[in-house]
């Protein structure tokens, strides 16, 4: 049995060597399918590792109170619709003050509010209208995990007075002040001047989409004065220690329900979520993307499989005489079947291996050229191997069965 297997493998290898270009072209579908999956999995896995790491840096003791549910929740669970959520009252600085004052398990709180898609100018230049303006209270660096690379964050006095001071994300700083020291320079938001007092440490992108470095942070009161007082905030709450997180969440929920005069049967009209729940919804999202990627992959494997089917049928036809000779010399049907099935599996497995190599290459390229965080998960390698050999078997069995049925007398007469 094992001897027969190695004989078949040797024969398969001989075929590839005899037709290298044809073999390569046949493999293209499988190579593309497998390398797509590998690259996507590397991206997702890298993202997951990075986000989980980022979230863990924020500290497990922090949770958030929001008007809106976590951005990346997908399907299931939440039966509320958009209109109901939009009709919820905004979270305000007064809510934040109430939480800080009446929740004994809470260490500190921070509020933030935001306006996306803004243009930032200086006298001489300006950014694209894609900068994220964030108004925050002074505790924000502690609860959000940002670090100041240069200069300082604003202080309470600057917030209370609504001073126009700004801390820049590194991308904004690079764009506006490529050649001079940004600290002390003046920028303009909605036409009004702000003094740059700090630069944030670079953090990169989330989901490859949302750029954490393309931000401008200003004091909360300054922000509300400039962008409108009625907007909602997000309130970050840090519990005293890990043991009191659950209690702090209960206290915050009770205070908020009291403030909003909710009856015992009313649902919360606000969201309380921990970083873990954000991580969980990210993982849910990545599951969906994984499934979608597999859809694409299955499609290209199907195309690859049809390539294998086609080339194996050609191969069987071309080698009719050889098959006839083998049968005349005593090869049983199963032996011929196994020979051609082995060849089909080896063929598509070779495609799978090339695809895996290409996937690793693309992941490395993404890391090196685009600065993406990528990591190829081991199970993706195993799955790719299994899928490509499966494709070979499924699409190779029909041509192999045809080869096994060939009549030796007819076959040896064939020219």
């Amino acid at each position: 049995m094992i001897r027969a297997f190695f004989d078949n493998l040797r024969l398969a290898f001989g075929t590839f060597v005899a037709h290298p270009l044809r073999t390569l072209l046949t493999l293209l579908g499988i190579v593309i399918g497998v390398s797509t999956v590998m690259t996507m999995m590397a991206l997702l896995e890298g993202l997951r590792i990075k986000v989980n790491k980022d979230l863990s840096q924020l500290g497990a003791n922090v949770f958030r109170v929001d008007k809106w549910p976590q951005g990346f929740r997908v399907g299931g669970g939440n039966r509320m619709n958009w209109n109901q959520i939009a009709a919820r009252p905004p979270l305000t600085l007064a809510d934040r003050r109430a939480i800080a004052e009446s929740c004994p398990s809470v260490l500190r709180t921070a509020a933030s509010s935001w306006q996306p898609g803004q243009r930032v100018r200086t006298v001489t230049t300006e950014t694209q209208p894609n900068v994220f303006i964030l108004g925050t209270t002074v505790e924000y660096p502690d609860t959000s995990g940002i670090t100041i690379a240069q200069g300082r964050y604003f202080n309470d006095a600057e917030d209370v007075d609504g001073r126009r001071v700004a801390v820049l994300g590194p991308d904004v700083a690079d764009r506006l002040f490529p050649n001079i020291e940004p600290l002390g320079q003046e920028i303009r938001l909605k036409g009004r001047p702000y003094t740059v007092i700090g630069i944030v440490e670079r953090r990169g992108k989330v989901l490859g989409l949302f750029n954490l470095d393309n931000q401008v942070l200003v004091p909360m009161n300054t922000f509300l004065a400039a962008y409108g007082k009625r907007r909602t905030s997000s309130i970050s709450v840090e519990a005293k220690d890990a043991q009191s997180v659950d209690r702090a969440m209960e206290e915050v929920t009770r205070v908020m329900r009291q403030r909003r005069e909710l009856g015992p049967n009313d649902e919360n009209n606000f969201e309380v979520s921990t970083n873990e729940s954000s991580a969980k919804s990210l993982n849910e999202l990545s599951t969906v993307i994984t499934a979608a990627t597999f859809g694409v992959c299955i499609l290209s494997l199907l195309v690859g499989g049809i390539g294998v089917l086609n080339i194996m049928l050609v191969s069987v036809t071309e080698r009719t005489r050889e098959i006839g000779v083998r049968k005349a010399l005593g090869a049983r049907r199963r032996r011929i079947l196994a020979q051609f099935a082995t060849e089909a599996v080896a063929l598509s497995l070779a495609g799978g291996l090339i695809g895996i190599g290409l996937g690793f290459g693309l992941a490395a390229l993404g890391r090196w050229a685009l600065g993406l965080y990528t990591a190829v998960p081991t199970w993706a390698v195993g799955l790719s191997l299994a899928m490509s050999s499966g494709v070979g078997l499924v699409f190779g069995i029909y041509p192999a069965a045809r080869a096994a049925r060939i009549d030796p007398v007819e076959a040896m007469r064939a020219e």
Binding site: A18, V325, L329, G330, V409
Partner: protein
């Protein structure tokens, strides 16, 4: 008795008509015989050889090989009989073009499931019998016609079969090379091999201890080779005279 054929028919359907390539063949051959089969092109010689070699299944009649009824055999059993009992030699050599001479000779032993070492030893022994030990690693395209046919004979011998079947083995060779191949068969016969040889050359048939003449799928003459060849020539001359 090695071979016993009784009432063997092999029919083909050609465009709604039934063509009988073999129309009732009775034939008995003993172990150790050297039999020539002669007949005109299209008379059914190859069809008979394919039936004898268990490559083709007759439409009717019985074929007992080595005491076993071939009609009762499964597809796998037939493959095993071809592998162990039959050594086939074809007019067109039928060597695998991508494999070396040695690998070609080893092929039936591969299907017998022998380990590589034993395969190699037996193949070398067979190649020695056909005086071809200098060309072990040549591909068929790198060999002359005579050498190719000797590789094919070695391949047939390697499995040490009960029966060598050669269908016009000299048909693609010049007469000098053909004579060489026939001497090889005579030597193999002298060693005790049973050989059935299809040929259209009366001179070759005349050298065989026994010859069978087949016309339109039926055996019309059977006897010592020289006599059959003589009668064949005589009827040929009669025919020619009748035509002139």
């Amino acid at each position: 008795m090695l071979i016993s054929l009784q009432g063997i028919r092999r029919e083909y359907h050609v465009g709604g008509e039934i063509v009988a390539a073999l129309a009732g063949v009775d034939l008995a051959i003993d172990r150790g015989e050297f039999v020539a089969i002669v007949g005109q092109s299209g008379s059914g010689k190859s069809t008979l050889m394919n039936v004898l070699g268990c490559l083709d299944t007759p439409t009717a009649g019985s074929y007992v090989l080595n005491g076993k009824d071939v009609a009762r055999m499964s597809d796998d059993e037939l493959a095993d009989v071809r592998n162990r009992e039959i050594g086939f030699i074809f007019q067109a050599f039928q060597l695998l073009p991508r494999e070396t001479a040695l690998a070609n000779v080893e092929l039936p032993l591969v299907y017998r499931g022998l380990p590589a070492k034993e395969r190699r030893a037996r193949a070398l022994e067979a190649l020695e019998k056909v005086h071809l030990t200098q060309r072990l690693h040549h591909k068929p395209t790198e060999l002359s016609g005579g050498q190719r046919q000797r590789v094919a004979i070695a391949r047939a011998l390697a499995a040490k079969p009960s029966l060598l079947l050669a269908d016009e083995p000299t048909g693609n060779l010049d007469s000098a090379t053909g004579a060489e191949i026939i001497r090889l068969f005579e030597a193999l016969h002298a060693e005790g091999n049973t050989i059935i040889l299809v040929t259209h050359e009366p001179k070759l048939a005349a050298r065989c201890p026994r010859a069978v003449r087949i016309t339109d799928g039926k055996i019309v003459d059977d006897g010592p080779g020289a006599e059959v060849a003589f009668r064949d020539q005589a009827t040929g001359q009669l025919r020619d005279e009748a035509h002139s």
